[in-house]
């Protein structure tokens, strides 16, 4: 759906490229007439100029948003449409999932340890060191596991996807795909999105487990807490949030809905910025940076709202 048809719209340089893949040009609607000489026609007052600038900026961002959602929608829609690029999907799952295992293990482990270390100081003051398992399990499973895995994958995988698609765009490989009769969204974006949707929850589970394990080590060697007690409190915490459908702990749902959403955010943002790349190798760098920044911020912001919704839905 075109944002504006017939009326004026902002001139976006990459429109030329991205439109070939995205909505407007494909539906055959003529692009709205541009208005280059607008400033030359009238001599507006300063406040008018400022308004115009804001107006243009607002339109541009709304237009980008529209493009982004069009891309994301198409990518997800294509999951269910033949032909399926299964080989590409497995390759991406390997790159996104298995490839990120190392950094996820490391960050999870050290986060769990540092969490245990910091809270042990407080808990010792209160004489409640036995609660450390509860504290670590609660924060890792519900919050830190998904967010940390998301941020790490955004840095590692998001930048990779953006750089790869960006250089493919710059070296005309995206056009080549189009020319050879392949939809680049279907061939490149869909496998990456699907792979991220699948692999991020898996990485999160691993992250959670390793984090709790890190806490276990600190509890045992620093606080002298027996492992059996530690793990018992961990399970108590996980099961204390109540159940959905009788058997699924609510904490698990909270902890797995988030990475699923984050996986979608990372892959679609990366693909969007990658495909939108213009301006040669410099453009690839810009696309990569934008991806990591946008995806990281989105993860943290969406995490907040998602937590509110999930807490409202799944409070025992």
């Amino acid at each position: 759906m075109p944002l504006t048809s017939g009326t004026r719209s902002v001139a976006v340089p990459y429109q030329l490229e991205i439109n070939a893949i995205l909505t407007r040009r494909e539906t055959g609607h003529p692009l709205p007439q541009q208005h280059v000489s607008r400033y030359a026609l009238v001599t507006p007052h300063a406040h008018q100029l400022i308004l115009e600038t804001f107006n243009d900026a607002a339109k541009r961002s709304v237009y980008s948003l529209q493009e982004y959602f069009a891309l994301a929608g198409k990518a997800v829609g294509f999951i269910f449409v033949k032909p399926f690029y299964t080989a590409d999907l497995f390759q991406q799952m390997d790159q996104i999932g298995v490839g990120s295992l190392g950094i996820v293990l490391l960050t999870g482990f050290f986060t769990g340890m540092v969490l245990a270390l910091q809270s042990s100081v407080q808990l010792q003051a209160l004489g409640q060191t036995a609660l450390i398992g509860k504290l670590i399990a609660g924060s890792m499973v519900r919050e830190l596991g998904p967010v940390l895995a998301g941020l790490m994958v955004a840095g590692r995988v998001g930048s990779g996807i953006a750089a790869q698609l960006g250089s493919m765009r710059v070296t005309e490989q995206i056009d080549a795909l189009n020319t050879l009769g392949t939809d680049p969204i279907k061939k490149l974006v869909t496998p990456r999105v699907l792979a991220s949707l699948i692999m991020l929850p898996v990485l999160t589970i691993i992250n959670d487990f390793v984090g709790i394990l890190g806490g276990n080590i600190i509890a045992k060697f620093y606080l002298g807490l027996p492992s059996s007690l530690y793990w018992r409190t961990v399970f108590e915490q996980v099961l204390s949030g109540g159940f959905t459908l009788r058997y699924i702990p609510n904490d698990f749902i909270q902890g797995l809905v988030k990475p699923f959403v984050f996986g979608g955010i990372i892959s679609t943002v990366a693909c969007y910025h990658g495909l939108k790349t213009s301006g040669g190798t410099e453009g690839v760098g810009i696309a990569t940076t934008r991806t990591v920044v946008t995806a990281s911020i989105l993860i943290l912001v969406v995490d907040y709202f998602l937590t509110q919704v999930l807490l409202a839905l799944f409070t025992p």
Partner: protein
């Protein structure tokens, strides 16, 4: 020095008897100071090429009028500013039309319009008589299969071997089995004078610029398209490789009879391969005609554009 071997081989082929019939002028067999001679040979050929292409595709008395394969009618297109203004031309079957013009005049945009990667604001683009301006995305993908496109930087897929690159359109759009695909890939690689066994397993990053272009042409040809589109096929290549690529495009036209649109600013090779030349300037086609008509033109811009040529 594998590239040199290739070039020598191609040069030999160019001296093949069948070629000699077409090009009357004898060529020097031995070369010292090869590059300079290559350029000179090419210049000689350019002079002949006019006569050649004229004989082949010019209107011949008694011959049936040829089919229109590509037609652009009153195309206008603007982004931030107008790029094309009311452009029209036609390409008949088997013709090679070279679009020349200064940089940034929208030459490549014409190719994108033909591929329907862009849709014009006004006007009509027709391939084989079918209007492609209002097709859906999926139908556009089908139309694109009739065309082979050779990109400026070859645009080979980095992540795939040469073999996979050339096989790509076959895997996507045909039901050929693996043996048939391999046979076709070998055939196409041989057509562009590459040794299949040597290059098939290489990655694009291991190839020289000229070889990349040739693999690009092989990939464009894989699906036996009726139309070939070239975006600056000779830019960034040394004079010898330029001659090789130009020769390949000519070979394609002669042996397979494909209709070609070549976007180029290399006026020398343009004259060699063109049936007709379209000069794009000031958003319009300022000249459309045979190379001979162009050299004979008195128009000051055309004279200036041709420069010392």
């Amino acid at each position: 020095m594998t590239d040199e071997e290739d070039r020598r081989k191609i040069k030999d082929e160019r001296r093949h008897p069948s070629e000699k019939d077409e090009t009357a002028m004898p060529r020097r067999a031995h070369d010292s100071g090869r590059v300079r001679k290559a350029i000179r040979t090419e210049l000689e050929e350019v002079a002949e090429a006019g006569a050649d292409t004229q004989a082949e595709s010019g209107p011949k008395p008694g011959r049936k009028p040829q089919n229109t394969v590509i037609s652009l009618e009153n195309i206008s297109l603007s982004f931030e500013e107008q790029i094309l203004d009311n452009i029209s031309f036609k390409a008949y079957e088997g013709e090679t039309i070279v679009v020349v013009g200064e940089s940034g005049t929208g030459k490549s945009t014409i190719l994108k319009l033909l591929l329907r990667l862009l849709v014009p604001d006004n006007g009509r683009v027709a391939i084989d008589g079918e209007d492609i301006t209002h097709l859906t995305f999926d139908d556009a993908l089908k139309v694109r299969q009739k065309m082979g496109m050779v990109f400026q930087g070859a645009a080979l897929f980095d992540s795939m071997t040469v073999y996979e690159n050339v096989a790509y359109p076959l895997r996507e759009h045909t039901t050929l089995n693996e043996d048939e695909i391999e046979a076709r890939v070998r055939e196409k690689l041989q057509f562009v004078d590459l040794e299949p066994d040597r290059v098939m397993d290489q990655m694009p990053s291991e190839l020289s610029g000229g070889m990349k272009k040739r693999v690009g042409i092989a990939r464009g040809l894989a699906n036996n398209p009726e139309i070939m589109l070239y975006d600056e096929p000779t830019s960034g290549l040394d004079p010898l490789t330029t001659a090789t690529i130009t020769y390949l495009i000519l070979k394609l036209q002669r042996e397979l009879g494909v209709t070609s649109i070549v976007v180029s600013h290399d006026i020398r090779s343009a004259f060699r391969m063109a049936s007709k030349i379209a000069l794009l300037a000031n958003k319009r086609i300022e000249f459309f005609g045979t190379p001979e008509e162009m050299t004979g033109s008195e128009d000051s811009y055309i004279r200036e554009f041709l420069g010392g040529f």
